[in-house]
């Protein structure tokens, strides 16, 4: 069975959930071969997880030459493996970093690239929602080794314990790939909440909140649900919440199990970033708000009464 390369998504070695999703998907396409690139000493933290999700093999490159530069070194590693192992496909997660790596791999190997796939069939036909999910497209790579950039939360991760063979990769990163040097990493006020694009539950706030300080209501509900916090364009443009948290056409696209929109009208700008959520709950005082046209459960009311009550109720029922 031919290999399916899976780029391991991790933070300093700690694998992210999407890695388990990609390995699960890879098992349906061929023999999953994880590709781990990171700083020296980070692989040890990923090892058990990769075995748990059924990696048949792990290619390991632990080097400051890959960890210390933007995108290009990892793309060189993957391109080399595409050449050496002739895999069926390459799977990476649809994160900002990995989609750039995937694009470079496709360019290096003269292969077709499909991004934001939500499914890949055993025949290697990918499904994508385009234009914010309003059109569903099935497409196929017609050149080289298919490179699929897969959305987080597209596949339910299923464990399938294995004993992966560790394979070091013999590669010297080229000088041209070491052009963009990471000289420092600066952490900013960490919320402790899940990543917006990976979260199972997202609570977002919009214009209806009226002021930056009222986002505390949204955060409190989010924390009760273990959710990520999002914001509409109106809220980020007003400076009420950081731009990184914007959900919509010009922000992040999310597809959680549950999306709660608080004080968001649901114009196409926002809708394009969240309409593929499994269940949508909307709270808005305007009964004419477009969000009620596609919410699964809509509550017409004052968010300043509804949200604290909902937070208390969720807290109570968690009991």
């Amino acid at each position: 069975m031919a290999e399916v390369l899976v780029l391991v998504e991790h933070a300093d070695g700690e694998p992210k959930k999407v890695t388990g999703e990609l390995l699960t998907l890879a098992r349906s396409l061929g023999e999953p071969a994880a590709v781990f690139t990171g700083a020296p000493g980070t692989y040890a933290k990923a090892k058990a997880y990769l075995a748990e999700y059924g990696a048949a093999k792990v290619y390991v490159v632990e080097s400051d030459d890959v960890a210390g530069y933007v995108a290009a070194p990892t793309a060189e590693v993957l391109a080399k493996l595409v050449g050496d192992a002739s895999p069926t496909a390459v799977l990476v997660a649809a994160t900002a970093d990995s989609r750039e790596i995937a694009a470079r791999v496709a360019a290096k190997t003269d292969s077709g690239l499909i991004w934001d796939a939500t499914a890949v069939s055993p025949e290697l036909v990918a499904t994508q929602g385009v234009f914010g999910g309003s059109t569903i497209v099935q497409s196929k790579v017609t050149k080289g080794t298919p490179v699929f950039v897969v959305r987080p939360n597209s596949t339910a991760p299923v464990a399938a314990p294995s004993t992966p063979a560790e394979t070091p990769v013999d590669i010297a990163i080229s000088d041209v790939a070491k052009g963009a040097k990471i000289v420092d990493r600066v952490a900013e006020a960490k919320s402790g909440r899940p990543d917006l694009t990976e979260a199972q539950v997202v609570v977002s706030g919009g214009r209806g909140l009226g002021a930056a300080e009222h986002f505390a209501l949204v955060e409190k509900l989010a924390d009760t649900l273990g959710a990520a916090v999002g914001a509409s364009r109106a809220a980020t443009d007003a400076g009420w919440y950081p731009h990184q948290n914007q959900v919509g056409q010009t922000g992040k696209t999310v597809s959680p199990q549950l999306y709660i929109a608080v004080g968001i009208s649901g114009a196409i700008q926002h809708r394009a970033g969240m309409q593929t959520s499994k269940t949508i709950v909307a709270i808005n005082k305007d009964p004419e708000a477009p969000i009620f046209e596609f919410a699964d459960y809509g509550l017409v009311g004052d968010l300043f009464n509804v949200v604290p009550q909902l937070t208390d109720e969720v807290e109570k029922r968690k009991g």
Binding site: V70, A71, A72, R99, E100, A102, A103, R104, A107, K108, S111, G112, W115, V125, F131, S134, T135, I136, V137, S139, K140, V141, T142, K143, G144, G179, A180, I182, V183, D184, R185, A187, V201, H243, Q244, Q249, T250, A267, I268, Q269, T279, V281, I283, P287, F292, F294, A295, Y297, G298, L299, V300, G301, D302, N305, V306, P308, Q309, L310, V314, R317
Partner: protein, 261 residues
């Protein structure tokens, strides 16, 4: 500083977008088209760097004849000149082909800095900066929320967005910089700028002029093909309830019934 900034004409952000029924490419005919909103941040950053360090800003785009409207907008914001790669044979090119074509044109301009935005609102690939860096063999400084150029030292550094903050990334010039929204506040074209734009140099290149191999461009040479496309099943509106003082409880009931809490 010789700065190149890429722009793309896209269907209006607020319009309902569709695929062409015949060839499954983005329908650019039945909608209003505008400069990709995020590209305005790229143009603005190019102009700011020029204003700080001197030099020239060249706008480069690939697109149908009417994409010249987007070029005019960039010129009216203050860019100095433009190159428009346009040819019927380019229709349907994917991001990989487009990056190869743009890189070919950009290389002839010998820029110190190539600036792109993060993504276009139609395709939403978010890959053009990385691809141009790959094709041109230049450092990739993408996802930048802040750019600092030091022409004297031949250096450029950025703050690259990360999940929990940012990475400080440095490179030697020339380099490709990809900017995120909110790095700046794009200016509106002034009346004077709009008038001046009409007289600014605009070079129009065909695929042949740019030295592109006819077999490698367009829909036929793309690396992926659409097998099928359908409108997504419309989301049904669900239960709408008016708050009678117990709205929060009612939502919690709904969530519990759906086994979401």
């Amino acid at each position: 500083m010789n700065i190149v900034v890429t722009v793309k004409q896209v269907p209006d952000t607020w319009a309902e977008k569709k695929l062409d029924a015949a060839d499954k490419t983005v329908d650019r005919v039945s909608v209003d088209n505008v400069m990709n909103e995020m590209d305005e941040y790229g143009v603005e950053e190019a102009l700011k760097i020029k204003e700080a360090h001197g030099g020239e800003v060249t706008v480069v785009t690939m697109g149908p004849a009417k994409a010249v409207e987007t070029i005019r907008k960039a010129l009216s914001m203050g860019a100095d000149k433009a190159v428009h790669l346009t040819d019927d044979s380019l229709h349907g090119s994917d991001a990989l082909q487009t990056s190869a074509a743009l890189a070919k044109v950009i290389a002839t301009l010998s820029p110190d800095l190539v600036i792109t935005a993060t993504e276009a609102s139609d395709a939403r690939g978010g890959v053009m900066g990385a691809l141009l860096a790959e094709r041109l063999g230049l450092p990739q400084l993408t996802q930048a929320r802040k750019v600092t150029v030091d022409p004297g030292a031949g250096k450029v550094s950025i703050e690259r967005l990360a999940d929990n903050g940012y990475a400080l990334v440095e490179a030697s010039l020339p380099a490709v910089v990809g900017v995120v929204e909110k790095i700046n506040q794009p200016r509106y074209p002034s009346f004077k700028g709009i008038m001046a734009a009409k007289k600014k140099p605009l070079t129009t290149l065909s695929a042949g002029d740019a030295g592109l191999d006819a077999g490698s461009v367009g829909l036929a040479g793309a690396g992926s093909a659409v097998v099928d496309a359908q409108p997504a099943p419309p989301r049904q509106s669900g239960t709408i309830v008016k708050d009678e003082g117990d709205g929060g409880t009612k939502i919690a009931d709904f969530l519990a019934a759906q086994k979401l809490i």
